[in-house]
Amino acid sequence: MSVEIRTKGVKPLTNSFGHLQRRFGDKPATRYQEATYDIQSTANFHYKPLWDPTREMFDARRTAVVMKDWYALKDPRQFYYGNYTTTRAKQQDAIDRTLDFVEKRDLLRSLSQDARERIIHAIVPLRHYEWGANTNSAHVAAYGYGTAITSPAMMNTADRLGMAQHISRIGLLIDGNSGDALLAAQALWTDHPDWQPLRREVERLFVTRDWFEVFVAQLLVADALVYPLFYQHIDGALGGGGSSALSSLNDHLLRWYEETAKWIDAVIKTAAADSAENKALISGWVQTWRNRLAPALQPIVQRVLGNQADDALASVLAALDARAAKLGLSL
């Protein structure tokens, strides 16, 4: 049955949901707004969580940060499930072509043994760093307050699994799908002195309970050091062996990092601007984790970059400090 002509003139009773009208006025809402604002329950919880009996199931008190409105923490990318997934699918299509190109021409396998071992030593163990970031991001998504922060945290959790698998594929491109490079990288991650200080900090984050602190430490501080260090500085050094193939694979990580940084920055900036207390708290966390993570990265960076290591570390730390200042933090 088709619609009668007269329905064309029908005006809606309302332009958007009541909770969106109260925030944005009586006008059509975007799909991001519909999927995000005020979705999480806030009242009349029924039971005490067995895993946290002194708080509610969703409870703003799981972080020391206090927000007048948790929905102020919006995602400038305006991701909801649909545009998030189709964006990632498109990006994956592009990187699949690169992976295919590298695989068909054996570009990583044909590198010298020394170059291959350097990539296994310096890049492939980062699959575990990404899995750690996945755990930490899942912590934010699980215990955070308000859909505005938890939904993109969920997407970030999935992204980090995707990145762990992307880095794993670099290993498989080196070892011809035997998995030997992945095993070697895992041994490096769990036992080699170059990687232990970083693993120590990743595990320290696993027992950090304040989800906003985890957000700051992992997504702002750790990523701001790890991504440019490994995928720019170390990539450049490893590229000495003519491995532009590696750079094209690392570029995928960098582009993702740049996109994600827009979200991280918006969240930090808004939360810090909400109160002097928040600003002090977040600034303190940045300081603390910066001072833990920078030395933790020193050995592996030193190993690969040698006498360039201090300059590389200084440059990423300076960039982090400048970014923090721009976000309204004081270190």
């Binding site: 009668e4 009773l13 029924h46 039971y47 499930y81 649909g82 699918a89 054996d106 044909s110 999935a158």
Partner: protein, 543 residues
Amino acid sequence: MAAEGNAKPAKKLNLKENYALLTRGLGWEPSYEKKEDIFRNVDFEGVVIHDWDKWEDPFRLTMDAYWKYQGEKERKLYAIVDAFQQHNGQFNVTDARYVQALKVFINGITELEYDSHRGFNMLAREFPGVGPRIAAQMQSLDELRHATTQIHTISQYAKYFTGMNEFPYQFDRVWYLSIPKSFFEDAVTSGPFEFIVAISFAFEYVLTNLAFMPWMSGAAFNGDMATVSFGFSAQSDEARHMTLGIEVIKFLLEQDPANVPLVQKWIDKWFWRGYRLLSLLATMMDYMLPKRVMAWNEAWEIYYEQNGGALFADLARYGIKPPKRAPETIAEKGHVAHQMWSVFYANRDAVGFQMWLPSDEEMAWMSEKYPDTFDQYYRPRYEYWKAQEAAGTPFKNSTLPQLCQVCQWPCLFTESGDPTTLSLRESEYQGQTFHMCSDGCKDIFDDTPEKYVHAWLPVHQIYQGNCFLPGVDPTAPDFNPMVEALRYMGIKPGVDNGDFKGSADATNWEKWTSRPANIHEGAYTDAVRDTASTADVTARKAG
């Protein structure tokens, strides 16, 4: 192209090998922090896991494949949703009664998808094994998808019909929405193993087919393109989730015999809790679909008695028995939809959608589908109420019903063997008496009374004066507790509730579409009279 110095060609990986290499081994044994400090929630329930690596992933999805297939599903779905909105598809459904069911959906079900998303997120953080963590993450993301696509689809209806515009607010406050809310909060506030047995197995594997397959097919049959599209698209994720459900059960049962009684207890509990929740869909299927695909009792036979039978036959090898209270559900299948509709009808001034009595055509269908129960117990009741409506003295309940402490339904159900006697149970705990609707709910209360005494029972809260907006003065001379409680719940008295006939939805529908708001009763208003002539003109032009 052969590589220099690397003569052997790269190995070709099959699906299983590829998945194993890209997932297993991502985790590691921590040494700087204690494992029990990292994963703090997996021990308190008493489940014994010896080897997390024994977990079998049924669907071997890496993240790239997930994005690819889910992206494809989303492109297809949003193409339909866009077309639906551009062409005012909300007016293509059978009649405006059908839309009342969508109100129940957005207000009562969408937030469950969201809670499920958060619950699985907690598992995604707390399970020590990589395999189950990834499965939980993907499911969490899927559940976020379901909440999102439901909101995006139903938002078009919310613009043109009453009672759908405050779904998050209402979910936290409306008295009967505490039924779904308390169900999922019960699961999320449990430990991770109980949660996954409750949701992945008892709810999704055993019960959701029953609800969503016939219901969504019914949406298609009633011309609701948008709902059937999100429904079936969501179900395609659900197929993965159900498989997760059965893998969880097998994993737990194979890990240690000590897990068997725990799993059985959770199956018994959550089967019953899920069944009570889905009874809402019984009444939606039988009463709110103007054109019907299948009756509730038929759905129960196909999807529980047959398929559940096959499932529990398969699990017998582990010593698992069918749910303890399954016989009650079979005994009730001819009654539950009718009893529930009766209670909603009687309380129609206190609900957020509009009600009607079944038409002659519908009652004839029910007589045929429910030959053992309908004519004997329910037809006389409806005919009596019809006569009362005709006489201008329609029947209404003026007091709110007694709620069950566990499932939070009104105590409206009858004894299994005696459909004329209400089923009422009670238990004492710390000197207080608590009321339950059934043996199934009493089992659950008696096992963990310390949990269920915290339930936020809306009717109790209303009578205690906790459900009024700020500034309301209960001592004022014109104070009307019912109206004030409705305002607190976000229900607009006289707009969202009451009789369907004469409602804004019915009147607008006829004005906007020139078609009857209730296809079985003919036009309520003059707006419909020109339909025939318009249709004739269209037909002649087309001819």
